[in-house]
Symmetry: C2
Subunit: 423 residues, 2 copies
Amino acid sequence: MATEQISVSELCAAAKVAAPVLARAPREVKDAALNALATSLEVRSDQLIEANALDLAAGEAAGLSAALLDRLLLDPDRIAAIAAGARDLAALDDPVGELIEERKLDNGLELRKLRVPLGVVAVVYEARPNVTIDASALCLKSGNACLLRGSGSAEHSNAMMVEIAADAADSVGLPRAVITLVGGGRDQLAELATQQGVVDLIVPRGGEGLKAALEQVATIPVLYAASGNCHVYVDRAADLQQAAAIALNAKIQRPGVCNAAETLLIHRDVADEFVPLIVDRMIEAGVEVRADKAAREFAGEARATALVDASEADWRTEFLDLILAVKVVDSVDQAIEHITRYGSGHSEAIITDDDDAARSFELAVDAACVYVNASTRFTDGAEFGMGAEIGNSTQKLHARGPIGLRELCTFKYVISGDGHVRG
Amino acid sequence: MATEQISVSELCAAAKVAAPVLARAPREVKDAALNALATSLEVRSDQLIEANALDLAAGEAAGLSAALLDRLLLDPDRIAAIAAGARDLAALDDPVGELIEERKLDNGLELRKLRVPLGVVAVVYEARPNVTIDASALCLKSGNACLLRGSGSAEHSNAMMVEIAADAADSVGLPRAVITLVGGGRDQLAELATQQGVVDLIVPRGGEGLKAALEQVATIPVLYAASGNCHVYVDRAADLQQAAAIALNAKIQRPGVCNAAETLLIHRDVADEFVPLIVDRMIEAGVEVRADKAAREFAGEARATALVDASEADWRTEFLDLILAVKVVDSVDQAIEHITRYGSGHSEAIITDDDDAARSFELAVDAACVYVNASTRFTDGAEFGMGAEIGNSTQKLHARGPIGLRELCTFKYVISGDGHVRG
């Protein structure tokens, strides 16, 4: 594809030139582009499936696992779902131009704080080719030119998708360079991550390896769509049937995602009843349970052989799999201490009917999302009513939790006077 | 002082332990600490002035300039002003716990987005010792433990101020470690800037040298309280008397600060009348005018000898002095182009009675603060009604413009259900 003949710096510079045009585009133009993109994905789905077949063949030849090949696969249903996502975005409110605050200062100046696009946003991601369109569409709606750096294993699929997206932009009079694919290896990633004054933000969606690689080289702002080591704490005042349902949902409903629970903490006062109950339910659901000594004792001898001994490493691990670490704690404070030590600041839940325990947990747990009597699985832009998201941030600056349209924006103050000077 | 025997990492670790106590302190406790701090500064002003005398003597011996010695000086009036600042902060609303958003999701979950402290904030600054108390007080009110790294030239003054501040915290039952002085050289700065998981934010207040030093080493989030290359653009539809008053105010009212104007752009259609007018006023005010060729021609031969030829470097320079670069442009678009190329994204003003020109400028200029018919000098937390500030950010992420109490906070989502699981 053409992108490989042009340097990363040149692609970024072209995106920066295109960015102000998109930043000032009215809502109707952006929504028309999103709808054109959705229609074109469906109309050109054969082309896209052909391109995807090349990636799948290369992946098979390279010995990719069945799971990775499945992540790579595009079929008519998946393409329809991606198109529906773009249409859903078109229906959402435009974040650009939103009035965040407005006030008249004592001196008569009129101050408005307005939401505006960041400018140029780079998204770095791994195999799943649907991210190419999801990220393009989010950036388009939020008025940001985007640079997309997908996995080499999806290069044909990604190139075709970016062609379709740039065509859609072009069809409504926007510059094609508002959506650009960036290829290459580690050197090109480093080039992208050091475009100070050109690229305003880089969002990596991927594992710890990608994060570590970027931490080494990035000089532009980075917003990590991070991993989650999430906990469910069953308090002594919990409704145990409710607690079991939530723990099970948090672990098994979709174990491979960042808001799935990895460790279950159980108050000692209910461990005698709850540990056997939850161990049986988890094992029945195919979950490997790694229990501390106390939890193994509460499980009883009959279940002992079905349990794995939990190690220190298990408290730190985001399994992203049907594995659950289980620990017995003496108090809500001990649960909070454990979470403070091992949690990644993503999503943490307490199950309790005791308002004081709930309040302590809410205040003391330093995480993007703190749940009371609900599953950690709800941490999601769509679930939160924010629309689509590009990932979840566990950083404390700028965006925490779901990174949606507003989180892809900054703001400016516009101050109007009639000759005001400072005295 | 004791701080020099303990490593930076140990000081940071102690601040992190103290931080949750401060984060959960009620407003009354924080305000009592601020008022105690103000009173103690006044009561102990002799002690403080003695400590300051040691710094002044060392500064004189080291040959510091009169301007730097003046920046270092503490006298009863300055101490009273610092104390008043702490009392003013006590009177402001508590940002911690503010409800940013609240909504009931379709599934019945109650979602609240609450403002919470960042945790541990480090502030790095230069000679002015008043920053020690200003930063301590801002962090205290916003619920953040702070690490203060002032200039070596103010070490005795800073140590005494931190002692007073920590005593004030102690007097209301807060841990002394919520306010900590960090000394040492470049190695210690690097140690501070790499405290991942311990220090949540580092705010450098200082020149480009400090910024460059931190960009090299920092691995924790940095919010630069940045410099400003600010412009005033006089449109063809400007009221020229108003324009002259604003340009003069923006340049001379306090030339050494980041929101002072450095370049004046003048529309060609009014240059014949406005250039002579403003050149005379600026020169009368003691300003050195560096003019481009067109501006020199419009100034007329009689003034030519009083003008300096502007060079490319002048468009890029934050003079922070009684120097003004002047350029004639053909249109508002050309003014915007110049600002896009040379501005630092701080504060930019247009003077015009033409609503279309004002609207174009507001939309297209990518800066924290965009002014219409007002001086750039208003960019300031107190002027904006935000209370005190720790500086002004020209970054686009997290905080843009004045960094006040809210900007020193993050948020968390608290989600309450009654057994909600995701389907």
